[in-house]
């Protein structure tokens, strides 16, 4: 398995500002993913963070709003830009490990509230 940490664990932000969420893994992983979980809802994939290249975004999510970095095989950041109250969600980092039955392991999440 993998141990995943996220910073911050929660934050309250003003509209119009940006927040960068960090995801750190205790081992090198090929695949890293960012999910959004809006209040009372399921998880939706934002993008796949690719090491050494641009992230791959899902329909409905754009790089200008959710820029992602993946500088190495153990770290990634997600920025939520120009925030509005609709961005209030839990943001979860996940890693895929093919050698472990193709499982995905999740970080503890970042709870973001935008006022």
């Amino acid at each position: 398995s993998a141990v995943i940490s996220q910073k911050p664990s929660r934050d309250i932000c003003q509209r119009g500002t940006s927040l960068t969420i960090q995801c750190q893994v205790d081992s090198q992983v090929t695949m890293m993913f960012w999910y959004r979980q809006q209040p009372g809802q399921s998880l939706t994939l934002i993008a796949t963070a690719n090491q050494g290249s641009e992230a791959t975004y899902e329909s409905g999510f754009v790089i200008d709003k959710f820029p992602i970095s993946r500088p190495n095989l153990t770290f990634s950041t997600l920025t939520v830009s120009n925030m509005s109250p609709e961005d209030s969600s839990i943001y979860l980092c996940s890693v895929g490990m093919r050698m472990v039955y193709n499982e995905q392991f999740f970080g503890p999440g970042t709870r973001l509230t935008v006022l």
């Binding site: 993913f33 399921s42 998880l43 995905q104 503890p108």
Partner: protein, 116 residues
């Protein structure tokens, strides 16, 4: 595109009893993986059980077992001897087995309450 449907927004069970959570999915692929994840109030996503589509035998992990019906595209989770710590949101998830199909597609979730 694949879709996952959980038709039970909420379920409740008495402690020590058995409960079954339903999940159906839609896919045109023949090889894939199915998962049940648990999300307690701490919001940490915890893998409960996995099933490879090519395996006919239903997966079992201690008190948790699945009923995988590939033809019917059904993947239900049975929790036996329910415990208070089982109370959580449960998500069914699908993942393609293709090299490019790394993403998980989640159902809407079922909120499980365990009554003492």
């Amino acid at each position: 595109a694949q879709t996952v449907t959980q038709s039970q927004p909420e379920m409740s069970v008495q402690e020590a009893e058995t409960v079954t959570l339903s999940c159906t999915y839609d896919t045109s692929e023949s090889d894939y993986y199915l998962f049940w994840y648990k999300q307690p109030p701490s919001r940490q996503m915890i893998l409960v059980i996995r099933q490879e589509a090519y395996k006919q035998q239903n997966a079992t992990e201690n008190r948790f077992s699945v009923n995988f019906q590939k033809a019917a595209k059904s993947f239900s989770l049975k929790i036996s001897d329910s415990q208070l710590g089982d109370a959580a949101m449960y998500f069914c998830a699908y993942r393609s087995a293709s090299s490019s199909g790394s993403r998980l597609t989640f159902g809407e979730g079922t909120q499980l309450t365990v009554n003492p």
